[in-house]
Symmetry: C2
Subunit: 299 residues, 2 copies
């Protein structure tokens, strides 16, 4: 996975490698309880853009991080993301039937299984990261476990989801919308960047601040673009139900800023992300390209 | 929390100390998102026998483990237990309205909040254990994180829950029933013992085998006694709905072995637990007394 062959090849290399690590890090479908393990694999394998693993590897490239450690970190963060999708799709949350172009877990299996799949995937994520030690100093590995746990918890992803739930039919201003997304999506994207970089070295304050700024910009850009796509693309293209935020009367960047201003904001955030990582020079090329991809993607 | 004042005082000391650690380890109710943090505290604080924390401290007493580390380990394992109760009580699982004498979280709040409370508590448990480091060598701390993650996951607690779900209306034999409980309840009780002992030292093979045997015996005894109480006590006494396993057509020790034989099995397991920890001598007195408590409890 060198970058010299170009971004597309690098991306495919990371995606293939992460798929293999995920495959090996999930319990085999044949082990008891079989149905739960099948459903966990159904939820995680063979789909998704793997944006968080790409961020892990791109940040790792800044400091020549060992590939094995990056693979574990990427698998852990992707399992957290996958579990959150399974739970978010459940009837008591967003009640969605389509995800990554497939039936959601509670539709394909049942609600109780979907609940347990999410719970077990979260535990598995921490298990994988706690196993990742071979290449990492233990103290740094504990720091990474802490980063992941905090990003996943009530002051991270779960907290953002709670604010999202409470925002249906409520008028949020732009700051409140940003605060919600900073937790709901931003926290785990941020953690991906920090985890990848931490596989390479213990970050100093300057490096940490630069990566925080980059992660903040792309995290927000990711959501702005999601809202733009939700308003402009169709379900078949997205592989999930389009237009559902508007249908659910949820505030989005498009409803608050309008389409053109949302697109301009995404572009501004892309520039800010580039700016933040300029000090890392050529090693930051994967992070730069990912910022572009996040803003310019069509799905 | 010395043991010289007797078991009752020791227990109360541990319970008080763990309540304080839990209180401090949960996000304040006033921080955003307020409703989620209130519900997390509702789910965890002010209730329960704190059996897992007691096991953590009792196992820690074997090796003079530092109290601060034990407190973190106990809080982490209790948060995992509390989250599992919140999710198990949800309508798509056991659909229960009463827990620890209070309305269950989805009744007191709503289903989506209950889902997020469980998710966030699991993340918080790993966060707390990853913070616990002051008194522990990092390598041992990582080992403890691994023990907790594995006990919580699909080959531990979540797996047992999946087998339990699949067993409604099915005839299980005694071995299958034991396998289910070994995962569903036993895995986290086992982890409690290992985590407590690990706060004191890195276990050698003999110590590990003795503790495994003890934990296996009390884990199974715990479930056998639960089944006996479910069949003989009333809801007001238990603080949860009695007789629900029989009503749900779930296999229990009482339905498979009968009441008298179940009680005899619990007593046999109590003796086995005593036997397993005999080599630790007087330091194992708290573990011995807990085995007695687990078998002789009335709620």
């Amino acid at each position: 996975m060198t970058f010299s062959d170009g971004f597309q090849q690098w991306m495919q290399g990371v995606q293939t490698s992460v798929e293999t690590t995920l495959e090996r890090s999930l319990p085999p479908a044949a082990t008891v309880p079989v149905r739960l393990h099948e459903a966990m694999r159904y939820a995680v394998l063979g789909g998704g853009k793997r944006m968080r693993p790409l961020l892990v590897f791109a940040a790792g490239a800044l400091f020549d991080a060992p590939a094995a450690a990056l693979g574990y970190a990427a698998a852990a963060v992707e399992m957290i993301h996958a579990y959150s999708l399974v739970h978010d799709d459940m009837p008591c949350m967003d009640d969605d039937a389509l995800r990554r172009g497939k039936a959601t877990v509670h539709v394909q299996y049942d609600e109780a299984t979907a609940l347990l799949v999410g719970d077990a995937l979260q535990a598995q994520a921490f298990s994988v990261l706690a196993e990742a030690g071979a290449d990492l100093p233990p103290q740094r590995q504990i720091g990474m476990l802490r980063v992941l746990a905090q990003a996943a918890g009530s002051r991270g992803m779960c907290g953002g989801q709670a604010i999202d739930l409470a925002s249906v039919g409520v008028t949020l201003d732009r700051d409140q919308l940003e605060q919600m997304h900073r937790l709901k999506t931003g926290a785990l994207l941020h953690a991906s960047v920090l985890l990848g970089a931490s596989c390479g070295k213990t970050l100093d304050d300057m490096e940490r601040a630069a990566l925080d700024r980059y992660a903040h910009a792309i995290g927000l850009a990711f959501q702005v673009v999601d809202d733009v796509l939700d308003a402009t693309a169709d379900s078949a293209m997205l592989g999930k139900t389009a237009g559902k935020d508007a249908a659910a009367n949820k505030p989005t960047y498009v409803t608050i800023l309008g389409l053109a201003q949302s697109q301009a904001l995404a572009e501004k955030l892309r520039m800010e992300a580039h700016d933040a990582i300029a000090p890392f020079g050529v090693a930051a090329e994967p992070l730069r390209q990912l910022a572009d991809l996040i803003v310019q993607r069509k799905t």
